[in-house]
Each structure stands twice: as structure tokens, then as C-alpha cells.
Symmetry: C2
Subunit: 238 residues, 2 copies
């Protein structure tokens, strides 16, 4: 269940290292952050499925870090709702139910529509366009994985138009939650393929400055997407 993936060992102290004199150090992530990143990666990848229990000591050993550090990583992931902490019982990979999915879409409707209504710079819109084309290429190549990724890029680019670090961060978390759900639900191979025309239409509306139109297209898209996903859920899970 746990592939042994100690990441790059943390420092052997060579005697005379000058610690990069200038003020511009690259801010090496702490061990706790790296553990969180590693777990996040496995969650996104589907190695860790919803409901899986994450035992502190096991993860500590597997990653070669102390329990306390794992704990800090858990706190981070819990704040992102990727894992759930049951007091005295342990940490479990979040298992989204129908209500969560609806809630996630409520958040997406709020911030994506708002971002579209506010419009964006030429570069922002170019990034949206790039995601649309990325999706088309993935569809032609028949790469479903890449298609899903492109779709997330599309919606990420939509939110990025607002130029808000906080909205970007929220969107990132929400997309991570959705990824979690996707691994649980078995869905059509071309689940995303249906949305390519929507993405194209929304992007076109943005490019021609029809913000209101883009917003209503997006809203309709999100509603439909939520419906489809709920159907999948009904079929795929108990």
C-alpha cells in the first residue's frame, strides 16, 4: 500500500559549507512541507484512495521522518480538507459524499463566475486559450489523463483572471478535492470530452469581451457538470 519513497535525504553536515551568503535563498521547504507535498501527490495520483487510514508511525517510517513531523503535515492536509482527523482514531483520506460535491460546486460557481465577470488581461485570457488547446490536443491523442488535467488547467486559468492569491489558493484546494473524488468514482472514459465545446465557447466569449455571456455559459457548464458527477456517484458508489 505504501511504496517506499523516502525523498532526498535531509543533509549530511559537511564541515565548511558557506550557507549561500546573499539574502536571496530559495526558501527550501521544511521537512513537514515536503511530507505534506508527498502525501498530496499520492492523493492526487490515486495511490491513496478515499477512506484509507493514514497511520502516523507507518508514514513516519516510510518517509524516514519523525512522528511529530508527520503530524504537522497532517495538520496542513486537514486544513485543506484532503484528510479528516477523527480524534483518538486517526487520520483518513477524505471521502466526499454527495453533499460535499454539491458544496464544492457551490464554491466553484461563486469564484469562477465572479472571476469571469471581472474579466482579465490579454495574458490571462491567453492562458485560458492555452488550456483549451491543451484539452483539444489531449482529446485527439486520446489521452484521458491529460484531458482531465487540461480541464483543471482551464478552470484554474479562469480563476487566475481575478489575480487574487486567495481565490487561486481556494480554487487549488477545491480542485484537489475534486481529484480525490475522481479516483473514487469510475466514470466514462470520455467524461471530459463533452466539455470541450463548452470550454471553447466560454473562451471565445472571453476573447470577444462578452463577459456576461461567458459567465452564463460557465454557470450552465458548472450546473451540468455537477449533475453528471452526481449521476456517476449514484452509479459508482454505495
Amino acid at each position: 500500500m505504501w511504496r517506499s519513497c523516502k525523498f532526498s535525504g535531509m543533509t549530511s553536515s559537511s564541515p565548511t559549507v558557506r550557507p549561500a551568503p546573499g539574502r536571496l535563498r530559495v526558501a527550501v521547504p521544511s521537512v513537514a512541507e515536503r511530507v505534506a507535498a508527498e502525501l498530496r501527490r499520492q492523493l492526487a495520483e490515486g495511490t491513496l484512495l478515499p477512506g484509507t487510514r493514514l497511520t502516523e508511525s507507518t508514514i513516519a517510517e516510510d518517509l524516514g521522518v519523525s512522528r511529530n513531523t508527520v503530524r504537522e503535515a497532517f495538520a496542513e492536509l486537514a486544513s485543506e480538507r484532503l484528510v479528516v482527523r477523527l480524534p483518538n482514531r486517526g487520520v483518513f483520506v477524505a471521502n466526499l459524499d454527495a453533499g460535499d460535491i454539491h458544496d464544492v460546486y457551490t464554491v466553484r460557481r461563486a469564484i469562477e463566475v465572479s472571476a469571469v465577470r471581472g474579466g482579465g488581461s490579454a495574458e490571462d485570457i491567453a492562458a485560458v486559450r492555452a488550456a483549451v488547446e491543451e484539452g483539444k490536443r489531449a482529446a485527439e491523442a486520446g489521452d484521458d489523463e491529460a484531458l482531465g488535467t487540461a480541464n483543471q488547467h482551464f478552470h484554474g486559468a479562469i480563476v487566475a483572471m481575478a489575480g487574487s492569491p486567495r481565490l487561486n489558493s481556494i480554487m487549488g484546494q477545491v480542485l484537489a478535492e475534486m481529484r480525490l473524488y475522481f479516483h473514487k468514482a469510475t466514470m466514462d472514459a470520455d467524461f471530459y470530452r463533452h466539455y470541450l465545446p463548452d470550454n471553447e465557447a466560454i473562451c471565445a466569449a472571453l476573447e470577444s469581451g462578452e463577459l456576461d455571456r461567458a459567465a452564463s455559459l460557465l454557470l450552465a457548464y458548472l450546473d451540468r457538470s455537477e449533475d453528471n458527477l452526481s449521476d456517476v456517484h449514484g452509479a459508482g458508489a454505495g
Copy 2:
């Protein structure tokens, strides 16, 4: 700077306590959570001002907990953006700048407007009304503190209309960030008083089902509020 406020001591073990047989225990918050709550309280109250450094060992001693526990609490507060962690330098109370304020308002515009557009149940709207009246009473009583609180209740009730746990949580964090800023900026005693008519108008529009009108009133309110706050900032801080 730190009032000694060890919270209720954590358990002396009496020999034969039966641990409340049933499954319905009240989920006592962990020590880390209580530390986070205590710090959050002091941040909201203004005891801890923006820029203040929070030293692990000091807080650990003051609250009578271990450094590791304080660390977990810091992680929680950092995820809420109430404190900022500078690697190897320490944890500081977040010090919002003009960009942060703008960003916070971007988030508020997104989620508050969206919530209003979606409308709410009779109870939801009644809660909004209650917050409006709470504000009126505070204004009459000349209680500025209560006025600010009522205003936050008003906007909290707006978002609560969406019935989304995630949006509520986001709004809670955003309001906490604003409170942080308010303690730093010295503003007119009746800063909020100007907004009472706006709140009333928005609430009235909601009650009569004019959702679009309520949404545009709210949007205008938020824009004006952001402007006012930016002015205060320009005057009050360097």
C-alpha cells in the same frame, strides 16, 4: 504583552472513571486546538497586534503546553493566514498591506454576491434581518464595538444563505483577517455607521425577492467599503 491565561487544566486522572459509555461524546477539542483558539481570540480582540512576533517557547510556557503543541497550533493559524511563518525566523501576526485588503475584498465580492444571487430560505433571510436590527440597536446605544460585530454578523448571514459549509468557513477566515486589520488601522468612531442604510436596503431587497437588485447593492457597498478602508490605511499607517 502576554496575560497569563492558562486555560482550564487538562485532567487529573481519578482512578475509576468510566469514560462515558455511549458513542455520543462531545468531542473535546485537543490541546493544540485550544491553543489555536486562544491565540485566535487574542488576535480578534487586538491583544496581539499585527507584526508581533510569537515565540514558540514563550507561548508554550505562558499557556502551559509543550513547544510541539504550540507548533501545531501555529500550523493551523498559518493556514488561516492569521500568522505568517518565516522559516527559521519565527511566526508573526499577519500584517495586511493594501494588496491583501484588495484581495480580501475580491474574495468577499465573489462569495457574498454569489450567495445573494442564489437567494435563501425564509430563516436565512430572517437571520440577515436580525443582524440589521442588531446593528441599529448598537448604533442607538453608541456601542462601536457592537456595531462592528453586528456588521460582521450581517455579512456572515449573507454568506450563510448559500448553505455551504466551505463558503461559510472561507468567509469566517476572511472576516478574521479583516478584524486583524481593523485593530491596526485607526478609523472613524462611526466607520460602520455609514453602512447601516446599505445593510437595510440590501436586506429589504432580499425580503422582497429582488435578488439581482440586492446583488448590485451589495457589490456597490463592497466597492465603497474597500475604498474607505484603503483611505484609512493611507492615513493610519506608514
